[in-house]
């Protein structure tokens, strides 16, 4: 028995040596890289562009870029990783930054450790930190969710304000301006989903806070930033300056139809804002409003995602090489996706290129990407932890009662904190 095992071992060794020799001989890389991603208007075409660039130098490498819904990518990853069968997994998957730690901690050993393979100092600081677990860095940083305040200059001017009046303002000031805009133009200040936590996360991160503290403990009740954010949500609900929307398409329609004066969200929305050609030249971008508390800055983030290589993928090294060459080295590529898709990468060397400082006619000649690049550097780095969605659900379960005035903000946060602690106990 032992003898047979030994023979098998020898054979395997020989085979490995032989194959590595042949590999060394044919330096040309080959294989098919399978990639799971979402958003046919953003991530998919960007990945196709990257693939095209890579195949120019490595003609024997082919790509299979699978276009799925975001929820489907997440669900398929969970099912395949939990089953322990690696055959159904892709070589590279796109994972949202809020979810990164969840995957890394839930499926240890499933993602390739890239600590010494990617030069992380070339990327925005906060990106690398959110994909670090126990000193090892996983994933290749991709797009930024740096946020901004997009506004219609025509509506703002009609209300008697100038562009300077929107620079570095607080949310209180934002509501005040909104009331005038509503009064003078009849337009709502912003399309807003009172059941969506996106803007709440923008508010919190601008103050360097999250639903959890640095150690990952629940921090809802004694969190000034969150308390202030809930207060502003309630103010929005009461003010009558918002156009209530439900879901993505209604929200996009609100600003594409010219129903609202502003949009506050991540830079990835640029493509959708520009989709309304009729309003070209009437838009500008200002810094994100900040919370009226100590330590809050006029810069924040919403969303953003990164590429992860699966540890057990057949083409792991090839996939890493591909990401390294394009996403961590090709400045030209970043310029191309910026002009084509409005994609702001987190690769710092690309941000000094000419495209980033070009004037955009759609935004009244403003150098928007220069502004966004500046704000990226000011985003407070925080630890999202692993329970962002649990926290979001806990808070927004109590928000309707806050809006109707049934319970105080204090009580609501207490209730949410109890619920959240119970949810994540084990």
């Amino acid at each position: 028995m032992l003898k047979r095992k030994f023979i098998i071992l020898v054979v395997v060794c020989l085979f490995l040596i032989a194959s590595s020799i042949t590999y060394a001989e044919s330096a040309e890389k080959s294989g098919t890289i399978t990639i799971w991603s979402w958003d046919p208007n953003f991530n998919i075409p960007i990945m196709k562009e990257a693939a095209e660039r890579y195949t120019k130098d490595n003609p024997k490498v082919t790509f299979e870029i699978v276009d799925l819904a975001k929820a489907d990518v997440e669900q398929k990853l969970h099912i395949n990783l939990a089953s322990g069968v690696t055959g159904g997994l892709p070589d590279i998957a796109l994972i949202e930054d809020y979810n990164a730690q969840k995957y890394l901690q839930s499926y240890p050993g499933s993602f390739a450790d890239l600590t010494n393979k990617i030069k992380y100092s070339d990327f925005a600081n906060y990106k690398a930190s959110l994909m670090t677990l126990e000193g090892k860095v996983y994933g290749v940083p991709f797009d930024s969710g740096v946020s901004g305040l997009f506004y219609r200059t025509d509506y703002i001017e009609k209300a008697g304000y100038k562009s300077e009046d929107l620079n570095n303002i607080t949310w209180d000031k934002f509501i005040e301006i909104g009331k005038t805009v509503k009064e003078k133009t009849g337009k709502s200040m912003i399309g807003f989903d009172l059941n969506d936590g996106g803007i709440m996360r923008i508010m919190m991160q601008s103050a360097g806070k999250w639903y959890f503290d640095d150690k990952g403990n629940v921090n809802l009740l004694n969190n000034d930033a969150l308390k202030e954010a809930v207060k502003i949500y309630k103010a929005f609900a009461d003010s009558g300056i918002i156009k209530q929307t439900n879901g993505w398409s209604e929200w996009v329609a609100a600003f594409n139809n010219g129903d609202v004066a502003t949009v506050v969200t991540g830079v990835w929305i640029i493509g959708s804002v520009k989709a309304d050609k009729a309003s070209a030249g009437k838009w500008k971008v200002a810094a994100t409003p900040r919370l009226n508390i100590d330590g809050a800055v006029n810069a924040s983030n919403l969303g953003g995602s990164s590429w992860y290589v699966l540890e057990n993928s057949k083409n792991r090294d090839l996939a890493i090489d591909f990401l390294n060459k394009i996403y961590a080295g090709d400045i030209d590529f970043y310029q191309k996706i910026l002009t084509d898709r409005g994609a702001v990468g987190t690769y710092i060397p690309a941000q000094s290129s000419a495209v980033y400082s070009s004037e955009d006619a759609f935004f009244s000649g403003q150098k928007v990407y220069t502004d966004f690049s500046g704000w990226i550097k000011a985003i407070p780095a925080i630890n999202y932890g692993v329970y962002t969605y649990e926290a979001d659900a806990a808070i927004f379960s109590v928000m309707p009662e806050v809006y109707s005035g049934k319970i105080s903000i204090e009580d609501a946060l207490k209730k949410a904190e109890e619920q959240l602690k119970n949810q994540i106990k084990k």
């Binding site: 839930s106 996106g198 209530q244 993505w248 659900a393 927004f396 379960s397 109890e418 619920q419 084990k426």
Partner: protein, 304 residues
């Protein structure tokens, strides 16, 4: 002696062939039905973070009672069950009775029209409802134009109205389906019974309550249990009515559309993946369905 022996071996070989024929089905049943049932029972005694799993015994079941999210999901599901199912079944009964009346013209057309929603895809119709019930959607537009309401109803933006919308959607989709069951049963009720009732002076309403309903009792029980199971497993509609929130994690405003099945989904795919606890919630659903079905049998079933 000899004869007995041969017949014995004949039966044996017959049995063997019998087992051979059913074995394939049994194996498939075992692998795809019994194994998952047993394995999920084991899973429900563990708590997991993805593949990091630990044995916790029955503490998952104890956790259910303290989990306010689970209790909220249970409450929501029971509200849908207690309000939607009776409305739907009663409507279906009335429609079936009316459409069974031979004096009505175009019966075939109306039957088809009422049944058609039952063949539409769950997701397609939910998305249509979502569009129709949006703040500046079709329904509000009509209601505003005929001056029934002064300001638009926040159908999908308010916890109460979101539940109303889901109940309307479910009723639209499933009433015709139940109606068909009642229609087929009604055709087996003899005309003579109604004729006798008419001679005795019973009007249509009395006939409905004293003849139609008692004679349809077995079918009402059947549809009630089917609807109970359907409601307890409600997933597609709440998921799609609420989906598309730009970055939201709640199901409907204030989690007002969170049902038990959606909670199971969230536990697996939206939150930190805890397949163990998700299995526990699934078992809770099974227990609740069993309990409700027993109660319905006791209340409506024959005493014999």
């Amino acid at each position: 002696m000899m004869g007995e022996n041969t017949s014995g071996s004949f039966i044996k070989s017959k049995n063997r062939h019998g087992w051979l024929f059913v074995s394939l089905a049994l194996i498939l049943l075992g692998v795809f039905l019994f194994y998952p049932i047993v394995y999920s029972l084991y899973l429900s005694t563990t708590s997991s973070r993805g593949i990091v799993q630990k044995f916790v015994g029955f503490s998952n079941y104890a956790r259910l009672f303290q989990d306010s999210m689970f209790i909220l999901a249970l409450k929501n599901t029971l509200i849908f069950f207690l309000i939607q199912v009776p409305i739907m079944l009663f409507l279906a009964l009335i429609l079936a009775t009316i459409l069974n009346d031979k004096t009505i013209k175009f019966r075939g057309f109306f039957r088809t029209a009422f049944f058609l929603p039952a063949v539409t895809s769950l997701i397609a119709y939910t998305i249509l409802f979502k569009m129709m019930f949006s703040l500046d959607g079709f329904i509000n537009g009509v209601l505003l134009n005929v001056h029934i309401i002064k300001s638009p109803i926040p159908w999908l933006l308010d916890p109460f109205w979101a539940k109303v919308t889901l109940i309307i959607a479910l009723t639209w989709r499933w009433t015709g389906y139940n109606m068909i069951f009642y229609l087929s049963a009604l055709q087996n009720i003899s005309e003579e019974i109604y004729e006798a009732a008419k001679i005795d002076g019973a009007d249509k309403v009395k006939q409905f309550f004293y003849i139609t309903i008692p004679l349809l009792k077995p079918l009402i029980l059947f549809t009630a249990i089917m609807s109970t199971i359907g409601t307890l497993q409600l997933f597609d509609e709440p998921m799609n009515l609420s989906q598309g929130g730009v970055t939201s994690a709640t199901i409907g405003p204030g989690n007002s559309l969170l049902t038990l099945s959606v909670y199971v989904y969230n536990l697996c795919f939206k939150y930190m993946p805890n397949f163990g606890y998700a299995a526990t919630v699934s078992y809770a659903i099974v227990l609740i369905v069993a309990l409700l079905s027993i109660i319905q049998f006791k209340v409506m079933g024959d005493k014999k």
